[in-house]
């Protein structure tokens, strides 16, 4: 769920969610406004709704909560940025996702476009990638699929023409009517197309979540987030936005890997387990951060 409202007394809502056994995923305070993205148990939603009404805030469903999405542009030059990419990222964020923009080094052109191993690994750290491509069908169907090679996460592609999904190799969804634009997305059909991107992303994430549900994770990522916040003091001094970012299958902790990965592994749960017993802790390609991949039940043997 996403709460939008004033800063005044918003702590009441935070405390209520914690009392109900929910989790605060993200809290952004912008001057006098606050946006809180949270997980709330289904049966207690009415209590949160009542509190929201009391605080004169607004509560909306945020279907992309807890996912980290890469928005990929062929390069960072003004040919591809900022308008379309930023607008799409903004739409995804409004539905609760955490987005990272990835500009490829040599993603331009049709014959000459390429993606490096580093970029591939970086994109693979996300839950889903949205590739923002251009105006020409030939380009999207023939040349750019080279940029999707080696990407193991689902791929959503956007572009201008209407294209059958089958024509684009390795893509999981395609949304038309976007393409390369040099102005901000304001018109009705443009907004509609971006809503469609969000819908496609939501659909794919839902199936991903279902797949995870078949073999549940040993522990829910939001719970790990809470435990890390309580047990690793240094995380409170991190200035990056969202010091602990949730992913579908784990988390990204924005602390230096070499210095802190042992400490993160030692985070313990009341059930007597340590995080390193139920999760893989590895180095992220992004600024040497720490990636935590939570093992499924079939691998660790526990669900807590």
């Amino acid at each position: 769920m996403m709460y939008e409202g004033g800063v005044y007394k918003h702590n009441l809502l935070v405390e209520l969610v914690e009392d109900l056994g929910g989790y605060i995923l993200q809290k952004n305070i912008m001057q006098t406004e606050v946006i809180i993205i949270m997980l709330v148990p289904m049966k207690d939603i009415h209590l949160v709704e009542d509190m929201t009404k009391k605080l004169l805030g607004e509560l909306t469903r945020a279907p992309l909560s807890g996912a980290e999405i890469a928005v990929v542009a062929p390069t960072l030059a003004y040919h591809h940025l900022p308008h379309l990419d930023c607008d799409i990222a903004e739409f995804l964020r409004r539905k609760g996702a955490k987005t990272n923009m990835v500009g490829l080094g040599r993603g331009v052109g049709s014959r000459i476009c390429q993606i490096s191993a580093y970029e591939r690994n970086l994109i693979n750290e996300h839950d889903l990638a949205v590739y923002i491509l251009g105006n020409f069908k030939h380009c999207i169907t023939e040349s750019k699929p080279r940029l999707f090679e080696g990407i193991e996460i689902p791929i959503v592609v956007t572009g201008a023409p209407e294209i059958d999904l089958d024509a684009i190799k390795n893509a999981d969804a395609y949304v038309g009517n976007l393409g390369r634009q040099a102005h901000r997305m304001r018109k009705g059909d443009e907004m509609h197309a971006m809503d469609q991107v969000v819908a496609e992303v939501g659909k794919i994430l839902d199936t991903e979540r279902e797949d995870i549900g078949k073999d549940p994770q040993s522990v829910m990522p939001p719970r790990v987030k809470k435990e890390i916040e309580d047990q690793v003091q240094e995380i409170n001094e991190v200035l990056s936005p969202l010091p602990i970012t949730l992913r579908l299958k784990g988390l990204k902790v924005k602390l230096d890997y070499d210095e802190f990965h042992d400490k993160i592994g030692e985070v313990s749960f009341v059930e007597g387990l340590k995080l390193k017993d139920i999760a893989d802790i590895r180095r992220s390609n992004m600024k040497n951060f720490i990636l935590v991949d939570i093992k499924p039940k079939s691998e660790s043997g526990y669900v807590i």
Binding site: H79, G109, S110, H138, A160, G179, H183
Partner: protein, 203 residues
Amino acid sequence: MEEDEKIMVESPEEEVGGNVYKQVISDVLSDLALGRVIKKVRVYVDVTEPVFIFVALRHTGLASVKLKDFADVEIGEYGKHQVIINLNKEAYIPQLLQKLWERYGKGNIIHEERAVVVVETPDYMNEVDILSEMVIDEKAGEINERIVDSMLRIIPEGFRVRYHQMTREYFLFVASEDSIKQEWKDRAQAILDKLLGGVGSIA
């Protein structure tokens, strides 16, 4: 009707792409305030080749700004080797000072009062005439820069091999990933000829 359109993008088998490209071109031209400089734009894109041809006609006749247009230039008092510039407009001071510093050196330019610039030079009798005819702001040069900038923004980023012609009447760009073929240049020339012919007949 087709002939009258300001921007036209032709793209075989890529109608949607062509239409979106038209929007991109008009956005870029208006971002750089080139709408009134450019008369007509014709673009041919074929991504299968791949080639991008851009031909545009421009309006001519943008005068450059000379010092005498916005200032009174006279010799200094008797016995002093000076030229005095009394400014009527402050808009061009940065460009003016830049040009004066280049020509006479910073030490010889005295700018104590806001609207008065004093130039110290031994040859003040000749310099007074040279100065009043000095071109301070070259509109055409600045517009050329903007046009090149707009081209780089419009052409697909990967098309790094370029061929261009630029005159006071028109400019023509051919861009591709591969080396430029003679047939592309010929096609660009044909588009240009048609455009020049068309405008000529209307005038």
